[in-house]
Symmetry: C2
Subunit: 195 residues, 2 copies
């Protein structure tokens, strides 16, 4: 990579992802990342003080890609709350299924990393259930959903649909029945939410 | 063990479970099982033709213990369908949580075995969703549940509650929020089923 380019955190994270893809999470080192960027490992440490901090940041970046894509659906009030909730759940499932199917090695790498990064995962789950909470609140305000506690309901919706976003189930997503199973679960949950 | 006792399949399976608990699924052999029973390995092979058949039978027995306990709830028509469904889901969760918490080594052993025994697991899941189907059919007949296809609805109910019976989630079952999470999911699902 051209040494004249400024070494940004984002450039380091891109290189880290590529190194993780190539070497796997057990073997990837900060020296590999520095070598891929044509810089010293000291330069990498100026942005990420430890290898653990770098692994956490790259995991967070991967998780945030999903939540950022979904935030647009939450904000799109031109769609009614039921439509937004269906689209949000479908988009979450599609995002996960694509990550798992398009690049299985990178997906497996991130499954290992998320297993290590409890705090980054907890923040990600809070972010996603926070998005769901906003859709449910809008539905309650519009009189189409019923919930005494939208945050608790959001958590329940997230848990009921876990089969279609929890990476543990990735092998099941190739099952030909999966799309019908997903539709049946979403219909049941939406019926449960209606006022 | 007294050699005068008749060597039944059930006695072999009991001994196999004990051997698995002691040696773990990777190391347990048919010779260990025969030794624990004080018989020749030929005697064991007369009941189970291969080591694989023995492992499948012991896995099936472990899975069947759960389904047999639940069958009583399905048959108890003195309870209305909603009550039966709530009790069934709670009993399934309790059974799994007990298996995981009371004897973690044996539970870990069976998690390995179920990973190998795809057919036994598929039959077990069919058995459980079949039980759910009967409760839902009774609810539809009584006019309290709504479903065009009770078998598909049963599958959806099973999937929405996976967090509370799929052994993959066993580590989460110690989380202090788990009981509240389970109650919220069951309430949401029951609302979705109501006619």
């Amino acid at each position: 990579m051209a040494a004249t380019e400024t070494l940004t955190a984002e450039r380091i994270l891109e290189a880290t992802e590529e190194v993780l893809r190539r070497h796997g999470p057990a073997k990837a080192t900060v020296v590999d990342v520095a070598r891929a960027l044509g810089v010293s490992h000291g330069s990498v440490y100026r942005h990420f003080r430890t290898k653990a901090a770098l692994r956490e940041a790259v995991t967070k970046r991967w998780l945030d890609r999903t939540s950022e894509a979904l935030a647009g659906i939450v904000a799109d009030t031109s769609r009614d709350p039921e439509r937004r909730l269906r689209d949000w759940l479908a988009a979450l499932f599609e995002a996960k299924r694509h990550k798992a199917g398009d690049d299985p090695e990178l997906f497996a790498t991130y499954v290992v990393l998320t297993g290590e990064q409890g705090r980054a995962v907890a923040e990600h789950l809070d972010d996603l259930t926070g998005q769901l909470t906003r859709i449910i609140e809008d539905g309650v305000a519009a009189g189409v959903f019923s919930s005494d506690d939208p945050a608790a309901t959001a958590r329940a919706v997230f848990h009921t649909t876990g089969r279609f976003h929890d990476p543990q189930y990735a092998p099941e997503w190739k099952d030909p029945r999966t799309d019908a199973d997903f539709a049946a679960v979403v219909d049941l949950v939406l019926r449960g939410l209606r006022a």
